[in-house]
């Protein structure tokens, strides 16, 4: 071995130089392998997975939505699938439904999640097991959550029976239809039940030691409790919670099991529609399935882009 010790070069100028005295970035050469190549090697497996699967998948979906068939002869490109989709009145209903069951749970679970985190962090000894219960909820698959909501909220479910016992309703049909309904109440409930603890855990992590110190600094500057919440606590945890909210949105917009089990066959959310088309025995429905899937992706991507844009603008607000 020609280099028994690591040699370090001084950190390069540029972004690294303004990282105020944090650790020096690793700059050593590893046994003759240039730094750039080494980094590329480290990243290769992950980039391969994401690159091969994700990028290929997306391009294939787009291509197939335009009529391309990879292994079958006799295909031709056309926008028929998209035309068909946009002239179909059912698509609008699906779009609205999908937007509803994605946006409402995202907003609700963000608000509830942050509130829960603010409550939990003030607990003393009970904090550990309370946050433990929230984390345990994370382990429950969404599919099970859908079943739980079915058993709880359906017209023959537990809540309906409680309502009967309390004298509000006397038949299952008298209880409002929360499952298999047009609005998607049970779907929303299932998502809120699962995603609130997710955002609570994220918010709790963001509310770690550092925020206490910042709040003390704010106190010493004359900020009362409500002012501290609005001007210090919430702004500081917003990036993490917003990031989590983006994940929640993307998940709920693209999820299949929950809307399938808790909603109606028609109108169905876009992912359910996509799979309906995909599983149709008629292969000409394939492009339509792809088109719906591509639309889901594009819309979700636009929402994320919008969020990033707004977040960037907010960060540059002046005095």
């Amino acid at each position: 071995m020609t280099q028994p010790e690591l040699r370090t070069r001084p950190p390069p100028t540029g972004p690294a130089a303004t990282t105020r005295g944090r650790r020096r970035p690793a700059n050593h050469r590893r046994r003759g392998v240039p730094r750039g190549l080494w980094i590329a090697l480290l990243l290769a497996p992950a980039l391969l997975v994401v690159g091969v699967f994700f990028l290929t998948g997306i391009t294939q979906a787009v291509a197939q939505s335009l009529g391309y068939q990879p292994f079958l002869p006799g295909w031709r490109l056309s926008l028929d699938a998209y035309q068909g989709m946009f002239t179909d009145p059912a698509v609008r209903a699906s779009l609205l439904l999908t937007a509803r069951i994605a946006i409402i749970p995202t907003v609700l679970s963000a608000v509830l999640g942050v509130s829960a985190a603010l409550l939990i962090r003030r607990l003393g000894r009970s904090r550990n097991w309370v946050s433990g219960i929230f984390q345990a909820n994370l382990a429950v698959p969404h599919l099970v959550g859908a079943l739980c909501m079915l058993l709880l909220l359906s017209q023959g479910g537990l809540l309906s029976r409680v309502s009967h016992a309390a004298g509000f309703t006397d038949t299952p049909a008298a209880f409002p239809a929360l499952t298999g309904d047009e609005f998607g109440w049970a779907i929303i409930a299932a998502y809120v039940w699962k995603e609130t603890p997710f955002l609570t855990v994220i918010a709790l992590a963001a509310l770690g030691r550092g925020v206490d110190d910042l709040e003390n600094a704010a106190r010493s500057l004359g900020a009362r409790p409500w002012q501290r919440l609005v001007h210090v606590t919430l702004p500081v945890i917003t990036p993490a919670v917003a990031g989590g909210a983006v994940l929640v949105f993307a998940f709920t917009a693209g999820s299949y099991e929950v809307p399938y089990l808790l909603g109606r066959p028609f109108p169905a959310t876009l992912p359910v529609v996509a799979l309906q088309h995909y599983n149709a025995t008629d292969l000409t429905a394939r492009p339509e399935a792809m088109a719906v899937a591509v639309v889901i992706t594009v819309l979700s991507g636009l929402m994320v882009a919008a969020y990033l844009f707004i977040a960037g603008r907010l960060a540059r607000r002046s005095l």
């Binding site: 972004p15 730094r35 497996p45 197939q64 990879p70 345990a136 698959p141 917009a253 889901i296 994320v304």
Partner: protein
């Protein structure tokens, strides 16, 4: 009053005004908080109640609040060798373990690159690695399904495991990336200076230091794979029978007891893992596993 050269002898008894201890936050606020937390806990636990009762219910007709008859039929179905359930349990466990191991193995070097090094395009790489998570994966799965069929990877575990890497590798890379960013690289340098080769440094210094993050990444990727339905359905073609697939079918059937019992089985291993991980990790930190280290 000037204070030049004034001496206060040590231990001299000062004139004391020992007043009462100062009051803490008022009792009403604390009770209100306790109440709200209680409500939260009820909301989190309530939906599981009908599930648990149904899993051991024989007959439970509307409008009774409790089953007319309890029965272990549901439980019996779970362990019945004629049903697919035990096999499904094995399949799910096997796939989830394989996916967790592979995702962490792939995410580890990626996390190291992102966390330890500053390089041009780092932001772009992070964004790219994050994309399967931000964007719904349905289009991707539909798009590549034909390839799996073509290369004989569909309808088998050989296809399901790789495709489940797509939602899991990003999480592994992010979690490990954050851990590497917090790692003090001087530990590795010190080990090298003491004569350890790069493999030894990795095994005996780096990995132990990162153990909490690796545990969180493994747990999270296991959970994601364990709960996965659509990807397994599309690529496995219904032939790879994981527990979520069986559960989906059970929910569609009219046998609520069976579905509920199966659902309890589906929850059990992840719950046990989360409890175990929390115990293991809060021994050091104080606040339990933080999944939200995104």
């Amino acid at each position: 009053m000037t204070t030049t050269s004034r001496r206060v002898a040590a231990g001299a008894a000062p004139t004391q005004e020992a007043t009462e201890p100062v009051a803490r936050r008022p009792l009403s606020v604390r009770t209100g908080q306790r109440l709200l937390v209680g409500l939260l806990l009820v909301a989190v636990l309530l939906p599981l109640v009908p599930l648990l009762i149904w899993s051991v219910a024989g007959q439970w007709r509307y409008p009774d609040m409790l089953p007319q008859q309890l029965s272990l039929r549901g439980v019996g179905l779970l362990v019945d060798p004629r049903s697919d359930i035990l096999q499904g349990l094995g399949t799910s466990a096997g796939i989830a373990t394989a996916v967790a191991v592979l995702a962490c193995l792939i995410g580890f070097p990626a996390g190291r690159a992102i966390g330890l090094y500053r390089f041009r395009g780092r932001r772009a790489v992070q964004f790219l690695l994050l994309s399967p998570v931000i964007v719904p994966g349905l289009a991707v799965t539909l798009g590549i399904q034909v390839f799996f069929v073509r290369y004989h990877l569909s309808d088998s575990i050989l296809g399901v495991v790789p495709v489940q890497l797509m939602p899991t590798v990003p999480y592994a890379a992010i979690i490990l990336g954050a851990a590497f960013a917090n790692l003090d690289i001087d530990y590795e340098r010190q080990a090298r200076a003491l004569g350890a080769g790069p493999v030894r440094v990795l095994l005996f210094v780096t990995v132990p230091l990162l153990r909490p993050a690796i545990a969180v990444a493994a747990l999270l990727t296991f959970l994601i794979s364990w709960s996965e339905y659509v990807l397994t359905l599309l690529i496995g073609g219904g032939q790879v029978k994981t527990l979520p697939l069986l559960l989906f079918a059970a929910i569609g059937s009219s046998d609520t007891t069976a579905a509920a019992a199966l659902a309890v089985l589906v929850i059990a291993p992840p719950l046990l893992l989360v409890v175990a991980a929390t115990r293991l990790l809060s021994g050091r930190s104080g606040n339990g596993v933080g999944f939200g280290r995104l």
